[in-house]
Symmetry: C2
Subunit: 466 residues, 2 copies
C-alpha cells in the first residue's frame, strides 16, 4: 500500500531541517527520511569540530605570543592531542542536541532508512512506499577517497577522521589544499605534526587573486612545505609508512589526510531510473533560483546540489525548497552575494565577484596591507592584506579577497558593502575606529575612490562636503 503525504524530505541535515521549518508552517502531512547518523554534517564532522580544532591550534600558537608579551618566560608544555579531543567534545555537544531535537520532535514523522525513488513523486524506504506532492532532496555530501587508497586502511584519513585521532601522528601529508585541507593541515602543523601539503593546482584555497594568493603561499609555506602543481600517488613505504610522490616530491609519512573534495550523495537513489536528467556528477538539473528539479516535483537543496556547498547557502536552499514544494508555480528568489571564509591563521576570505570575473569586467583594483596598521603591530601580525575590485564608472564595490587575522569579521563588513550596493567613495568616508584592523579598509577604499568616477573631488580623502 502506498502512503500519501504532502511532502517527503530526504535528509535531516542542515538543508533538510531548514526545509522542514518552512514546510511545517504549511502542512502537518510530511515525513523526513534520514539514513543516519542523525546530526548535521556541520555539527558532527564539519564546521563545528573543525572550528574547535582550529581554536586549540590558535591557542597553542598564542602561547608564543604570551612569550613575546613577557607573560611567560617560555612556551609551556601543552597536550597537542587535546586538539582532536576538544573537537570531538564540541561535535558531540552540538550534534547530540540536534539529533535529540530531530528524533524527539518528529516522532513518527521521522523514518530512519535509505530512500530510493520508484517514480518521480514516489520513494521506497524500509520496504514502505510513499508518494508525495513534493519531494525535497537534501542528502548532503561525503568526503571523496579514491578507492585504491582505501587499501592503506587507518593510515588514510578523511576530514572526519582527523577528529578521531587518539594520538598525534609524527608526520602527515595533506593531499588537496582547498578550504578543508588547508584548515586542518595548518591546525595539525601548529599542534606539532610534521605536515607536508600537496596540491595539484598552482594555488591554495582556490584563491584566484594573485596578490592575496602570493601572500597566502608565502605565509603558509613558512609554516609547512607546500608542493603545488602535481597530483600525488601513494604506495607502501618503509616501517609501515606511506610513500607519497608528487612531481619531485618523494617522502614517507605516518598518515595521509585526503581532502580532495566532497561528493554529492545522489548515487544509487534511482534518480536516473525514474527519468530525472542528471549532470556528470549524477546531480539532477535544477533551477538555483527556485531549487526545482527539471520535469519532476522534486526540489533539491544543500550540498547534494554540488553547487554552493556552504552552510548558509544550504540553509537558504532548504527554505526555498520548503517554500516552493507545495506551490503551483515556484517563486524565484535572488541568491546571496558569494562569501567564502577559510578559518586558517590568518583567515582567508573572498566576497562578491571573483578576481577573474572582475578582471574581465574591467574593474579597478587596489590593495592595502593590514599588518602595517598599529593594532596589527600590537598583535604581532606578520603579513595581512585586503584587495578590492570596483566598477570604474560608479565606484560601486564589486568584490575582493583578503588574508588577515580575524578576517572572518572584515569579510562580513565587505560582503554587506557589496550586496548593499555601497561605493568605494562611501566606504572611504565611513567611520574607522582606532586602533582597529579595519583601518586598512580606509587605505584601500580611498585609493580606489581616486581610481573610479563619482567620488568627492578636491577634498581630503574621507571627507564628504555637506
Amino acid at each position: 500500500m502506498t502512503r500519501q503525504v504532502d511532502v517527503i524530505i530526504i535528509g535531516a541535515g542542515t538543508a533538510g531541517l531548514y526545509a522542514m521549518s518552512v514546510v511545517k508552517q504549511q502542512t502537518s502531512h510530511f515525513v523526513v527520511v534520514d539514513q543516519g547518523p542523525l546530526g548535521t554534517t556541520c555539527a558532527r564532522v564539519g564546521c563545528m569540530p573543525s572550528k574547535a580544532l582550529i581554536q586549540t591550534a590558535d591557542d597553542y600558537h598564542n602561547a608564543q605570543r604570551m612569550v613575546r608579551e613577557g607573560l611567560l618566560s617560555e612556551t609551556p608544555t601543552m597536550q597537542p592531542q587535546a586538539g582532536p579531543a576538544f573537537a570531538l567534545k564540541i561535535s558531540h555537544m552540538l550534534s547530540s542536541k540536534i539529533s535529540e531535537r530531530v528524533s524527539g520532535g518528529l516522532g513518527e514523522k521521522l523514518i530512519q532508512g535509505r530512500a530510493r525513488f520508484v517514480a518521480k513523486d514516489t520513494i521506497e524506504v524500509n520496504g514502505q512506499t510513499l508518494q508525495a506532492k513534493a519531494i525535497i532532496l537534501a542528502t548532503g555530501s561525503e568526503p571523496v577517497i579514491p578507492a585504491p587508497w582505501r587499501a592503506f586502511g587507518a593510515r588514510i584519513l578523511d576530514s572526519e577522521g582527523v577528529f578521531q585521532l587518539q594520538e598525534m601522528p609524527k608526520s602527515l601529508a595533506v593531499l588537496g589544499l582547498g578550504a578543508i585541507g588547508l584548515e586542518l593541515g595548518q591546525a595539525l602543523s601548529t599542534l606539532g605534526v610534521a605536515v607536508t601539503g600537496v596540491e595539484m593546482a598552482q594555488h591554495v584555497a582556490n584563491l584566484q587573486d594573485p596578490e592575496i594568493r602570493a601572500m597566502a603561499l608565502e605565509q603558509f609555506g613558512k609554516q609547512f612545505p607546500l608542493h603545488l602543481g602535481h597530483a600525488a600517488s601513494l604506495s607502501e613505504g618503509e616501517n609501515g609508512q606511506i610513500r607519497v610522490q608528487a612531481g619531485p616530491l618523494d617522502i614517507q609519512v605516518e598518515k595521509v589526510l585526503v581532502s580532495l573534495g566532497r561528493r554529492p550523495r545522489v548515487a544509487d537513489m534511482g534518480l536516473a531510473e525514474v527519468g530525472i536528467a542528471l549532470d556528470a556528477r549524477g546531480v539532477p538539473l535544477f533551477d538555483p533560483t527556485t531549487t526545482k528539479v527539471e520535469g519532476a516535483p522534486i526540489f533539491i537543496a544543500g550540498d547534494c546540489t554540488n553547487d554552493r556547498v556552504i552552510f548558509h547557502e544550504a540553509a537558504e536552499e532548504g527554505k526555498m525548497a520548503g517554500f516552493n514544494g507545495l506551490r503551483e508555480h515556484p517563486q524565484r528568489f535572488q541568491r546571496k552575494t558569494p562569501l567564502g571564509i577559510i578559518f586558517t591563521d590568518p583567515n582567508i576570505a573572498t566576497f562578491g565577484m571573483g578576481y577573474e570575473a572582475a578582471l574581465a569586467a574591467g574593474a579597478q583594483m587596489a590593495s592595502a596591507t593590514i599588518h602595517t596598521e598599529s593594532r596589527a603591530k600590537v598583535m604581532g601580525v606578520e603579513a595581512a592584506m585586503v584587495r578590492l575590485y570596483a566598477d570604474p564608472a560608479t565606484g560601486r564595490l564589486l568584490g575582493g579577497a583578503l588574508i588577515s587575522p580575524r578576517g572572518e569579521h572584515m569579510a562580513h563588513t565587505l560582503v554587506w558593502a557589496v550586496q548593499g550596493g555601497l561605493t568605494v567613495h562611501q566606504m572611504a568616508s565611513m567611520p574607522y575606529y582606532h586602533p582597529n584592523l579595519e583601518e586598512a579598509l580606509f587605505a584601500v577604499s580611498s585609493a580606489l575612490s581616486k581610481q573610479c568616477k563619482g567620488g568627492y573631488e578636491g577634498v581630503p580623502a574621507g571627507l564628504i562636503p555637506a
Copy 2:
C-alpha cells in the same frame, strides 16, 4: 619683530598632524608649535599602550581557555607585571617613530614651546611673535585629577600612570567607569589586582541601552565589585593605604586609579584675553561642520574641542581645519555616524543613534543573544548580545549597541550599515557565514524586519523574491 606665516598649527598630536598633512599641500609657509613631549596622546599614553595592556590581560585570561580545551592541565605561572611593561614597550615603539618623523621631517618648521595668543591671529612662543592667516588649535587634552587628591602622591594614578607601574599593586580602586576606567580596571583585575570599581552614575561605559547595560553590569560585576551611584571621597588609611568611601562602600587600597575624564588643554593660552568667546570648559565656540572658531581666523580640532574626543574624529577635524584654514569661505562637511568602541572583554560598542534618542524618535527595537550562536559555544562565550534600533516606517537602521567578544569588528559592520543607509530588511537577507558570531545579526535584523514596514512579506526570513 613679528614673523609672518600662512598657518600656525598649535599641537603636533593626531589632529595637528592630520591638519599639517593637508596644509602642506597648499603652502610651505607654516609652523608647528608643540609644548612636548612629542608623540601623540594615542601612541604615547592612550589607545596604543592600553590596547597592549588589554592584549596581555586577554592572553592571561586565555590561559584558562587552554585549560578548558585540555591543552594545559593547569594555568601556567605568568608574570602579570608583563602587562604594563609590554604596554610601555609598544608605546615607545610607536611614539618614537612619530616623534622622529615630526622632528626630523619638520626641521625649522617645528617650534618646541608653549604658545600664547596675543591677538586673534598672533601668538607668542619662546619670546618670538608669529602672525598667521590661520591658526589651527589642536592642543589635545589631559587626564583630570582633582587637586586635593594630588596629596596622595604616587598612590594616585591617572590612566597614563598605569603603564608606568613597575610592580602590580595588591589592591586598587578605579574611580570613574567610563571607557578608560573600565578598560584599565578590567585589565588590571584580570592580571591579578584586587580591583574595586566606583562610578557616580548608575551605568558603566556611558551605556544608555538598558538591556546592554544590564548585561555589562552583570558580566563586569562578576569579575570585580562595581559600586554605582555614589561619588568617592579619599582619605589616609592604615599602613600607607588610601581609604575610599562612596555611599556604603568603605575600603582601603594600595592604589587609586582616577579616570574621571579628560580636560581640554585650552587654559592659560590667552584665548579670553584676545576676545574669543569660550564655553564653560574654556573651549572656543566653533562650528563642528567646518572647525571654524567664531569671529577669529582660528580652527579647532581634536580633543581640545571637548566634543567628539575620539581618534578618528580628531583626524577628520584635523583634515577639515587644514582644508579650511586658507579658504576665504570655509567648506562645510558632513560628520561621521557616531561610533564608540570599548576594548573590554567582552567589547562594548555603540553605533549611530543612541538609545534615548531612538526611544524619543519612536524607533522599533530588537535584541539577540550572541552567546547562543554555535561559534560562541566553541569559544566558551558566557554572555553577549546585540540590540538594534530601526525606523518603523522604512526599516532603516538607526543605531544600536552591543556587548560581545570581538564586538569591535561587528560594530564596524553595523556602523557602515547605518551610515550606508541599509534597512533591516536588507540586513536580514545578507550572507552570514557559519559558524560566525555575526549570525546573531540575522536573528536581530529578521526580528526587526517583521516589526517595521517595507519588508518582504509572505516569504521565509532572509529570502528576497526575484
